[in-house]
Amino acid sequence: MLHPSPQTFAGAPKSTAARIGIGGPVGSGKTALIERLIPVLRARNVNLAVVTNDLVTKEDAERLRRSGLIEPERVLAVEAGACPHTVIREDPTLNMAAGDELEASFPGLELIVFESGGDNLASTFSLDLVDWWIFVIDVAGGDDIPRKKGPGVLKSDLLVVNKIDLAPHVGVNLERMLAEASAVRNGRPVIATNARAGDGVEALADAICRAVLFRE
């Protein structure tokens, strides 16, 4: 598949796989969503690989490798030197190089998912690294998160509100939270998910396919 990457200069080799980012606060469910997405995307014949940016260990990479959902060689870990936002924004070169390595190892690769290490509401992805990115928050973090208007919430291409199953337990009015999220994002897309049960994951896969794989 030919994927035009706007960031490459004339003469530089173009990336062939689409690159997407998944960021968001610690524990919001980024890895859980990736675990849900992998089988759904593979069922749609998407040739994919994952790069994780664990903060301190290789926990997430190991978890995905052991999951049996994807060949372990398709998961690379990039340690972030205690700087989860640097490695996706100010200096994404280690992630770029990991992406390049995956592309070289797996001809025909169509999609590389970069999971950011858990960070705060200010983390955003550099468009050098990804073509499109998702920010994942969860209802247990509080229904006031959208109102705090963090750059991740505002600037991401897609906002995911995860752990909707927990809303009744943490006293969150989900409908209002989603409406406020939509409002602060000026109507740009927001998806509600429950990564435990898989709710909303098909919609998430649809959004990815439409945005970067140009498939319905």
Binding site: Q7, T8, F9, A10, G11, A12, P13, L55, V56, T57, V78, E79, A80, G81, A82, C83, T86, V87, E90, D91, P92, T93, L94, M96, A97, D100, E101, A104, D128
Partner: protein
């Protein structure tokens, strides 16, 4: 005045090359013995003398001199691979080299794409020092600027990592940098030896121990 500016541009931590993710043994050292500003300064001085001046600088300059001959650069690269005894340093140097290269390929620095193709094809390792020499030549630096940029990045890389590890404060770290600049200038002015030689066993041991550790902020 473009020479010094080009060197500053490359030595600036704002130029993305992945260097921030490597502690080059410091994390392992800090975990095994109490370190303060003075100990940090001694440690960096030792690395500058016995690793940077005799190994990194030499490999970088040799590649700089022969940047248009990829076979020659690959030979220097193989020499670095053989001379770096400690696996975490070898792996870190390759990954840091790949990071620097990724940035230079994307800004279309002459020579970068060909070197990257060679590394990807498995016909070179792409270590940091020879990669610096090659892309810095392509980017227009002069040998003196390239030498200073390479040394300064080692120095500031250690102090930045030390701040993140809580060894020294961000301001105190700059006092360490200031005190070591004369040493760096002196080492940079000395003629480069013909062959690569490195000796910093404490850091090698610390990095090896670090590689086995569970909790790691840095890559090495």
């Amino acid at each position: 005045m473009i020479g010094p500016l080009l060197a500053m541009w490359q030595a600036d931590a704002a130029f993305p090359s992945g260097g921030f993710a490597f502690s080059n043994g410091l994390e392992g050292l800090a975990a095994s013995e109490p370190l303060d500003g003075e100990a940090l300064e001694r440690m960096i001085a030792g690395v500058l003398r016995r690793r940077w001046a005799t190994a990194d600088r030499v490999a970088m300059l040799h590649a700089f001199d022969r940047a248009s001959d990829l076979d020659a650069v690959a030979e220097i690269d193989a020499e670095v691979e053989a001379a770096t005894l400690c696996e975490p340093f070898r792996a870190g140097s390759r990954r840091n080299g790949a990071g620097l290269l990724a940035a230079h390929v994307r800004i279309a620095t002459p020579g970068a794409a060909d070197w990257q193709a060679r590394v990807r094809a498995g016909r070179a390792q792409g270590h940091l020092a020879p990669t610096q020499g090659l892309v810095w030549r392509g980017a227009g630096l002069d040998a003196e600027g390239a030498t200073l940029a390479s040394g300064y990045m080692v120095l500031s890389g250690f102090t930045t990592a030390a701040v993140r590890l809580g060894v020294v404060g961000a301001v105190a770290a700059q006092a360490v940098v200031r005190r070591l600049l004369p040493l760096l200038a002196e080492l940079a002015a000395a003629p480069a030896p013909d062959r690569i030689a490195s000796f910093a066993p404490r850091l090698d041991i610390a990095a090896a121990r670090h590689a086995r550790g569970e909790l790691r902020l840095f890559s090495n």
